[in-house]
């Protein structure tokens, strides 16, 4: 690799050769509204689970896009599905569907 004079953190690298985009595609195809997320953080601010433990929908989005499915599975389990986020979201994203799709997708693609 060419030395540009700075280092790359392993965890932040997305290796496109290895990238498994099945879950990402599954979620975005079934809930395209998630594409419009502008990371405003309204969902996190109102979140019932986020009030009890560190939990962040924007982080979920990031993990999903990075293909970090192990971390994603751990994170997504924190959601209580209470539904405050969908009422807050300025982009009308159906976040609860995103959560359910990720949960289902993780089980689905783990076995394939």
């Amino acid at each position: 690799m060419i030395d540009f004079g700075f280092t790359l953190s392993e965890t932040r690298t997305i290796d496109y050769e290895q990238f498994d985009g099945r879950l990402l595609n599954y979620v975005l195809q079934n809930e395209p509204s998630f594409l419009t997320c502008l990371s405003c953080g309204g969902c996190t601010a109102t979140c019932s689970a986020g009030n009890l433990i560190e939990f962040n929908i924007r982080k979920i989005n990031l993990l999903l896009r990075m293909g970090e499915y192990e971390g994603l599975a751990r994170e997504i389990d924190k959601c209580m599905l209470c539904g405050k986020c969908i009422l807050i979201c300025p982009r009308d994203i159906n976040i609860r569907n995103v959560v359910m799709l990720i949960k289902k997708g993780i089980v689905k693609y783990k076995n394939e």
Partner: protein
């Protein structure tokens, strides 16, 4: 006539009937077998009680007369009644007629069905002529139903229905056969009457007419064959079509009366309910999703369950408002059925929530649980605090700072195992506080607290019930205002928990309550329900707007509800002023307090100069 072997033309009928009988019996046995041990004991114990009589009566009123369909839609009710009850009478009176003609109780079954073929003699007595005429009139009665059925298929608006259900191939065969049976019967019996110069008042006349223009001798046998063929086809197609609902509904009525209940797992009782759906389509017109162009109504879900092709998109796209359940003439428990399907669908990924901590507990007789949604509508929370303080009640605000969700939204999504974890956490806190009363502001929480929390010794109350109690005991001021108010029943509080009267009684102390055409059991859903995982916000808004248009036609000053989610949903479209019932009461308290302040202020102003 050969008495040992039935005539050739009767074979389609005999084969069809035998196939149907065997299949229905096999299914009944299998369904019974699949029930839990306790359900079997329940049925066994119920057999010799009044429950059996009640089931027989109900099978008659619902299975034959279709009383409930009559209530919702008289024309549709008449169609079903003329077909079911008319056919039933034709069979019964046909048998009596044959008994008289044969002068015996022992004769092959098909003799009664094809009575006119076997009994060719002209009328020997006035009785046989009357019997034949009665049969004619009954047949016309059934034919009127068939005619309506044609009409419904091609122009459902005649029935005041916007939709007719979509059919699959098994249904098509059965429907075509059913449509043919009675016209064929009428033609055949008339032709036969023309040949033998007998028949009743109608068939004789028509028969004579036929005899004058048609070679009735030649076409008589083929006509009987066609009639028998139509019957045979119908009976063969019946178990594989929606008409399976006829035997299944009767089985369902018996099981329901013996006290069999739906479980959290799919069992054969859920199957019985699935098969009992007649696909009448009444649930289509009552569903608000339909107005937003979403076609995931109960009738389709039941069909998908039966055909084993239910998708998540259909299953989770439902508000679980319970309006279809309310109008279903068969009484299928659609919400519970859908939830059991959701449980199956999401079984593999329930969360453990192992991060939940025990948390602080305060000893108190009264607990207030606002709920997630109430935290999003702070005016309701503030009003409740004001009411508690004014009435001088010592309470513990359980979820003021940190508490998990009540668990109900997870349950609506089918995640029962996950919800159990949240329930246990909250439950321990409530029990440890030594509370006697739990006041809840959100109907979604309210339902789960009294249904699934097993809080023995704790009286769970929705805030509308609680405030009414306070008003009755004089702790809270009344204020007969002149506001024109509409009360919107939240689904979870009304149809879900049966609380209709308390909020209305409370509101009558604070203004003028307008009665609506669609209220209480019939009330509309706001469209915000958390039970629907799939619906987009835009579609939700469509539903909300349509509901608000209905409310606005009554020209109210305020739309009052008692659910924070309903309030949030209605305020989102911003067309009418929306308040929670607690805000109305808190407003009255506010008025009284400010009047008092004003008075003391005035008095001080007034008194001061004289003092100086």
């Amino acid at each position: 006539m050969n008495n040992y072997l039935p005539e050739l033309f009767t074979w389609p009928f005999i084969l069809g009937t035998s196939y149907l009988l065997i299949l229905v019996i096999v299914r009944f046995v299998r369904w019974f077998w699949g029930l839990s041990k306790y359900d079997k004991i329940r049925i066994w114990k119920g057999l010799r009680t009044r429950k059996t009589l009640r089931s027989i009566k109900e099978s008659f009123t619902e299975g034959l007369l279709h009383r409930k369909i009559f209530k919702t839609n008289p024309v549709l009710g008449y169609m079903h009644m003329s077909l079911a009850f008319g056919w039933f009478l034709l069979i019964v009176i046909g048998h009596i007629e044959t008994i008289i003609a044969e002068r015996s109780l022992h004769f092959p079954f098909h003799y009664a069905i094809f009575s006119r073929f076997y009994h060719t003699s002209s009328h020997t007595s006035i009785i046989s002529y009357i019997m034949a005429s009665v049969m004619d009139v009954l047949l016309i009665f059934v034919l009127s139903g068939v005619f309506l059925a044609y009409l419904k298929r091609f122009k459902s608006s005649v029935f005041g229905m916007k939709h007719s259900t979509r059919l699959k191939s098994g249904d098509r065969i059965a429907l075509a056969a059913l449509w043919c049976i009675f016209p064929f019967r009428f033609l055949t019996e008339s032709i036969t009457a023309g040949v033998h110069n007998n028949g009743g008042i109608i068939s004789q006349t028509v028969g004579k007419l036929f005899a004058s223009v048609l070679p009735v001798d030649v076409i008589m046998y083929p006509a009987w064959f066609a009639y028998s063929l139509a019957l045979g086809f119908f009976f063969v197609a019946l178990p594989n079509s929606r008409y399976m609902h006829i035997p299944a509904e009767i089985f369902f009525i018996f099981l329901r009366n013996y006290g069999v209940k739906l479980k959290k797992r799919i069992n054969t009782y859920s199957l019985v309910q699935v098969f009992s759906c007649s696909r009448c389509g009444i649930c289509l017109d009552t569903c608000q999703l339909d107005l937003a162009g979403i076609h995931t109504q109960s009738v389709y879900v039941l069909k998908n369950i039966r055909n084993k092709n239910l998708t998540d998109e259909v299953l989770f796209n439902c508000l679980l408002c319970g309006r279809c359940q309310q109008v279903c003439p068969v009484g299928i428990e659609m919400n519970d059925l859908r939830i059991t399907q959701r449980i199956e669908s999401t079984r593999q990924y329930n969360s453990s929530y192992d991060y939940l901590k025990e948390g602080e507990v305060r000893k108190s007789k009264v607990i207030y649980f606002a709920g997630c949604m109430t935290h999003l509508t702070p005016a309701i929370k503030q009003s409740m605090i004001q009411i508690f303080n004014y009435a001088g009640i010592d309470y513990w605000f359980m979820d003021e700072d940190k508490a998990p969700c009540c668990g109900r939204p997870l349950m609506q999504a089918g995640q029962y195992d996950a919800a159990e974890k949240l329930i246990e956490n909250n439950r321990q806190k409530i029990l440890h506080s030594g509370a006697e009363k739990l006041i809840v502001s959100c109907p979604i929480c309210y339902k789960v607290f009294y249904e699934d929390y097993a809080l023995h010794g704790v009286h769970v109350q929705h805030h509308s019930e609680f405030i009414l109690e306070l008003v009755r005991s004089g702790l809270i001021p009344k204020n007969a205002g002149t506001f024109r108010m509409i009360y919107h029943d939240p689904c979870e509080l009304g149809r879900g928990s049966g609380i209709y009267e308390q909020p209305r009684e409370l509101l009558k102390h604070y203004g003028q309550l307008i009665a609506l055409k669609k209220e209480k059991e019939d009330s509309l859903c706001c469209g915000g329900s958390l039970s629907n995982i799939k619906i987009s916000m835009q579609k939700r808004d469509e539903i909300t707007n349509l509901a608000i248009d209905v409310f606005k036609s009554y020209d109210p000053d305020i739309l009052v509800t008692s659910c924070p989610l309903c309030k949030k949903t209605f305020t989102r479209v911003n067309k009418v002023e929306v308040r929670d019932i607690a805000e109305i009461v808190a407003g009255a308290i506010e008025n009284k307090q400010s009047a008092k302040r004003h008075m003391t202020h005035q008095m001080k102003k007034h008194v001061k100069p004289t003092l100086v």
